[in-house]
């Protein structure tokens, strides 16, 4: 019935799901977990405010990943941030530019921006949502060079990058730095995180981008689900320590179980 080698994966998936559901229910009953401060997320409103004061645009991108592969969670996290930033831009009257690489992300981003502007009582701007999303190129470096040109020409005061980024991450962040934009960037691609840390004002590391939607919305149910993540991390930690001890003692029982 079960695929060979995937039993342990399914078991841990169920455990993490159960933990998330438990904490969501606990939060629903009013017992909210405390989220630690994430300076990068707290700075988003300040960045949009700065752009408004300087009468310069806000540029936000969701990376070069798509919605159809393993990078989809990063893109979804980026799209949640697009909604939040669009809402702030609508509230403060800042210009929003959202460069896109994947054509099928365009309608999604357009819809998100349109909804945000409508909900903030700006239907005229909402009607121009499709003009805020700039499709650049499907090619990785075609997208990068067009994005760099956009940054150089428009000189945004705030530049946000949340999603899956690869080799273009540092190029975008460096040009953003050169145009004096306040930069907030986050990705789960471990090899690109150092680049964001080096070149941006605030960097969201790994899991922080997934928690962004919950953190910013302050929705108790979403915040509860973030607490459920900690159970997953605790399990991983216990497995690592027990695995080290057992392997050092020459007992391969854990590795055999995990491969089952």
């Amino acid at each position: 019935m079960l695929e060979t080698g995937r039993v342990a994966q399914l078991f841990f998936l169920i455990v993490i799901c159960a933990a998330v559901v438990y904490f969501v229910e606990t939060a629903r009953r009013g017992k909210l977990p405390k989220l630690r401060k994430v300076p990068g997320l707290d700075a988003v409103e300040e960045a949009v405010g700065r752009a408004t004061e300087m009468a310069r645009p806000v540029v936000i991108s969701t990376g070069i990943g798509g919605l159809t592969d393993v990078t989809a969670p990063q893109t979804v996290a980026g799209l949640s941030m697009v909604g939040y930033v669009a809402r702030l831009c609508a509230r403060y009257g800042a210009e929003l530019i959202a460069p896109a690489r994947q054509p099928y992300v365009i309608p999604v981003e357009t819809e998100i921006i349109q909804t945000a502007f409508n909900e903030e009582g700006k239907p005229e701007e909402a009607a121009r949502a499709s003009e805020m999303v700039h499709y650049l190129s499907d090619s990785q470096f075609g997208y990068t060079i067009a994005y760099l040109g956009l940054l150089q020409r428009r000189k945004p005061a705030a530049h946000l990058m949340i999603g899956g980024y690869w080799a273009e991450s540092l190029q975008l962040a460096e040009v953003g730095f050169n145009v004096n934009a306040i930069q907030i960037a986050g990705t789960a691609n471990t090899h690109q995180i150092p680049f964001f840390v080096a070149a941006c004002d605030y960097a969201l590391i790994g899991e922080e981008i997934y928690a962004a939607g919950a953190y910013l919305s302050k929705d108790p149910v979403q915040v509860g689900s973030v607490a459920g993540q900690d159970v997953g991390k605790a399990i991983a930690l216990v497995l690592i320590v027990v695995g080290i001890l057992l392997t050092a003692a020459g007992i391969p029982v854990l590795t055999t179980l995990l491969r089952s």
Partner: protein
């Protein structure tokens, strides 16, 4: 609200597709695997059709730029050039299909020539520019203003020298020990940090997946709060 605009429908579709994929991955159910393959084929077709959306968006964006051209500003000419090239390359691709009578336009010699000698070369040029961006970012990041930045500077310098032939030349007879130190930095503290971030990110992605599956996370549908 009209039926097609309601958020429940996309949430139900997302949840059903996700459950189907989970079933096909974990269980030996031929029907689930077959349905999952079909859904993935639909997805590929839809994704490929979306290229047309991108094509139209690019034309619209650059047409707008041409329409709004200002006296003295010649940058709109780039937009004209882009539209001309875009249409010419599409026509070249269609001609390639027609001439070779296959579904792959890459058989056409002219199409391939443009791809290899223009696109690939430009891509490589862009990628190689990364070296200069790394140099300028490192210069800023390696300023030892704090203790943490000092540690970064020292470990970064050791790793750079370990990777460059100059490192072995400078350290001479001490080079093997120096290389061991470089190996240790890469494989122990660096790897530990990377794996920690990786585990956190994986668990975060699962949690986000559960929120999407249960309709709690609606940011991607345009409902942030």
């Amino acid at each position: 609200m009209s039926f097609y605009k309601r958020k429940e429908l996309p949430i139900v579709i997302t949840a059903l597709c996700a459950l189907l994929m989970i079933c096909a991955y974990f269980f030996k159910i031929p029907e689930a695997k077959s349905a999952s393959t079909t859904v993935q084929t639909w997805m590929l077709v839809m994704v490929n059709f979306s290229v047309v959306v991108g094509f139209v968006m690019v034309i619209r964006m650059h047409k707008r730029r041409i329409d709004k051209r200002q006296p003295g500003d010649k940058s709109w000419l780039y937009s004209v050039w882009l539209i001309v090239l875009l249409i010419a390359y599409v026509l070249l691709g269609i001609y390639g299909v027609e001439s070779t009578r296959t579904a792959a336009p890459t058989n056409d010699w002219t199409f391939n020539w443009v791809f290899t000698n223009a696109l690939v070369a430009l891509d490589s040029a862009m990628y190689s520019l990364l070296a200069f961006f790394i140099a300028s970012a490192s210069f800023r990041a390696f300023k030892a203003r704090t203790k943490e930045a000092g540690v970064l500077l020292i470990s970064g310098a050791i790793t750079m020298l370990y990777n460059a032939p100059a490192g072995s030349a400078i350290f001479g007879p001490l080079a093997p020990s120096f290389n061991d130190l470089g190996d240790w930095i890469l494989n122990v503290p660096n790897m530990a940090g990377f794996r920690g971030i990786l585990i956190g990110a994986a668990v975060g992605a699962i949690s986000l997946g559960i929120r999407v599956l249960t309709g709690r996370e609606r940011g991607y549908l345009g409902a942030g709060e």
